[in-house]
Symmetry: C2
Subunit: 134 residues, 2 copies
């Protein structure tokens, strides 16, 4: 919903159009958003070490966020025993990918609302040429 | 930076491309993102009551988030004495608008990375027709 249409209609002020309840807090948290984006980009999985470097996180922080994501079944963590030194490999699950894509749709709406808020003409041109849907 | 270019180059795995440090935590928090988007869309300000309804927040929650935003000088809170019953009016400040716009630029990059991660072809077409810059 565009802001431009709404701000002048006082009756529509009464609806929580900026509540963004679909911004799943499990995914929205900055570090976890980085972790999930890394894993979505690497469907075969990433080692703990690679994730740590890609996301710029410490061991402790990454561990904590991985536990949250695993508890929610958004990722699966396994030991890859093929190496001489077994590696921890993290993968995004099917549930994780679905929730991530749902989250992205809301994030896109936030960005459209936000663009309309700061620069109405940009939002209008964006609305004329919609983004490829995810 | 696109994911497609990066994932095959192991040397670039070493840089924290998914750290998203520009995702300012003060703004990124879901409720505050809603509050700031509301205020960016209403430069003349919004009453506490309107904000509460627009963002779907309770009195306590909204108060808490407004204090955080005011402490960071992203918003200004004033009493409008013109009414018979003085209203609390919240406005986004110049600093707030600048930091919000900076945040949006990072958010846009996250969305491009994320789209590339879940659907590389959508990201490619998006890159060919860039979004209007904010």
């Amino acid at each position: 919903m565009g802001i431009a249409n709404m701000s002048s209609a006082s009756s529509r002020r009464r609806t929580p159009v900026f509540a963004y309840e679909g911004l799943d807090r499990v995914i929205h948290e900055r570090a976890r958003l980085g972790v999930l984006t890394s894993l979505a980009a690497h469907p075969k999985g990433l080692s703990f070490g690679d994730l740590k470097l890609l996301c710029g996180l410490t061991d402790g922080n990454l561990s904590r966020h991985l536990r949250v994501l695993e508890r929610e079944r958004l990722i699966a963590i396994a030991k890859d025993q093929r190496q001489r030194r077994p590696q921890t490999i993290c993968r995004i699950t099917a549930i994780g990918r679905r929730r991530y894509v749902e989250y992205l749709a809301v994030l896109e709406r936030v960005l459209l609302d936000a663009t309309a808020a700061v620069r109405p003409e940009a939002a209008a041109s964006r609305a004329r040429a919609p983004l490829p849907s995810i």
